[in-house]
Amino acid sequence: MSDVLIQAEGLGKKYIIGHQAEREPYLALRDVIARGAKTFARRASDILHGRAVVEGDELEEVWALRNVDFEVSRGDVLGIVGRNGAGKSTLLKILSRITEPTAGRVTLRGRVASLLEVGTGFHQELTGRENIFLNGAILGMTREEIRRRFEEIVEFAEVERFLDTPVKRYSSGMYVRLAFAVAAHLEPEILIVDEVLAVGDLAFQRKCLGKMQEVSTRQGRTVLFVSHNMAAIETLCDRVILLAAGQISMKGSAREVTSSYLQSASGYEPGAPFRPRRLTPTLSLDRFDVLPNPVESSDGAGFSLQLSSRESLKISELVILIFSAMGARVAILDLRSVGKDLVAGPTEALRLRGRIAALPLVEGDYSLGLYINAGTIREDFLDLTRLTILSKSSRSEIPPYAVQHRGLVELEHTVSLD
């Protein structure tokens, strides 16, 4: 039973993305017109050549995935982990035939069902019963199959009483339960699952994990599973692939890969080294690092900062600003606490080093900026460097909620029955 069901060879996917050219602070009408004409000419030629329109002034090719090789045998559960933007979704999209690879090839032996989202195609106006048939058909079940498993699906979802109610009247929990129930009753040879487990109430989450396990072990189905939830990955997967910047940076047993992903030391491509940049014509930021980066949620981290100036500059206020990926200000570090004058000059740069005792933040990417007040300069400088927080490697069997439901801060807490 070791036949290979999924085989990927040299898989690659290239996207063309557009950038906004850097805007000068003052723009003459003439420039606006010239730029508009240039963009229009480019789009007109795109249309003539049948190419797609790309927003932006400058175009860049990006390989979302490159040279990816792997095999999955029958009955195996392969986990895929990696940071946001590492290429996981692109890989899943190629495997589920939503998009075509630019290079390489995949051979799939067997019926494939992919579950990239819970409740794909659910229609708000239709009833639960109608949506079961709609969603089932979308996921590739025949009407006969759905009819055969209808009772099972309804029972699994626990929505018997509301079968003939439009799903727009469902609570979000009921909605998710129904959606997952349909998906869980698919019978493909290859099942591709994106992060869909961390939804619903606890009991239901347990049920889903159990169902996934049953699907892979008892029914011998091949599963490809993407998750940020390391606990779920370790429970379900035999082998795990770590993706970084579109390439496979590590393959191995679940434990090996997840622990190295979390430690972020080996196998993890550290973020590009900080590139010095000029903040104002006279002031530049030579270094702004957080170490370790990525860091596990609730762990501490050190930071270092170096500013140099062409003229002697006395900085009266210096603050590190931490923003969420969505741009909400999460916290600040007031560096006046250093207690001494902050001076940057042409001969001697200002070097600072510090430590954050704990970063109890929800996993994700955060953006760091600086607020500097130095007389003539009084400004926020945003998005100077990034900090990636990884999920805590909890051994709890409760799968955490999806990131978007957890706010920004992880509060340590205890609870017991009263």
Binding site: S96, R97, R105, V112, G121, L134
Partner: protein, 275 residues
């Protein structure tokens, strides 16, 4: 083990396209059913819209073209019937076209999350347009009774013209769908095209008022032959049909069908990246 081996490679999606299309026929019927089922949900008069719209248009056209402009009808047929027999295929065509063009964008989340031959989506919306058409066909029957006008044997050929009308909307529909995904300009263009199309097609008047020597040019609009066909079939001997003109329409319809399908197929592979 199932013997389905699937190879994914750049430019390879082509291979089993028509077989896949057949295999996904259940999805097609479910999507078509969904489009019909939700079309008039949460509207006050519901399905009556399918009757009201062409009915009101008919009254306006009859008054404007028949009464105010005093254009001639065909033979003994009442002007209202002439208009309605033209409105039927026109509405079928324009609803299909608008529906198809919008369908990909409104089903974007499906296209980004699941694979299926994309052609299913625009074609399924056309089924909803066809249902509207069948409902207004009942209204036509009522009108004919009201006027005491009975069709001849030609009415038996109506299904053929209906099928032709579907094919006539399929070609441009697919083409515009593909264009609309790449260039959203077409969202703005389509309503305009349809507005213009209504006046350059013989919907509110008989094509006999177009001067003889320009008629060949006029017939390049495939809807001309189609609408003439509908009138001939519904009004019986009262309306004339030109075999030559009809063949020209057939040729134009086939050309657009070929163009639409080939453009759609070429664009289809990149839909998920563009949406």
């Amino acid at each position: 083990m199932s013997d389905t081996v699937l190879i994914l490679e750049a430019g390879r999606a082509e291979e089993h396209y028509w077989r896949d299309l057949w295999r996904y026929r259940e999805l097609f019927s479910v999507l078509a059913w969904r489009d019909v089922a939700v079309r008039y949900k949460q509207t006050v008069v519901g399905v009556a819209w399918a009757v009201l719209r062409p009915f009101l248009t008919m009254i306006i056209f009859t008054v404007v073209f028949g009464r105010l402009a005093g254009l001639p009808s065909e033979g003994q047929a009442p002007y209202a019937l002439l208009v309605f027999a033209g409105l039927l295929p026109w509405t079928l065509f324009s609803t299909s076209l608008t529906g198809a063009a919008e369908s990909m964008v409104s089903n974007a989340n499906l296209i980004g999350k699941v694979y299926f031959p994309r052609m299913i989506v625009p074609v399924a919306t056309m089924v909803a347009a066809l249902v509207d058409f069948l409902i207004s066909l009942v209204l036509l029957a009522g009108l004919m009774l009201w006027y005491g006008f009975f069709p001849g044997w030609q009415i038996l050929l109506l299904p053929i013209f209906v099928a032709l009308a579907m094919l006539a909307s399929l070609g441009p529909g697919l083409w515009i769908t593909a264009l609309n995904i790449k260039y959203r300009d077409f969202r703005v263009v389509i309503p305009f095209l349809i507005q213009v199309g209504l006046y350059i097609s013989p919907v509110g008047f008989s094509s006999s008022i177009v001067p003889e020597r320009w008629r060949w040019l006029y017939r390049l609009n495939p809807l001309v032959g189609l609408i003439e066909g509908f009138r001939w079939s519904i009004l019986g001997g009262e309306s004339e049909i030109s075999a030559q003109g009809f063949l020209l329409s057939l040729a134009v319809i086939s050309f657009f069908l070929w163009l639409g399908i080939s453009r759609f197929r070429a664009a289809e592979r990149t839909f998920a990246d563009l949406i």
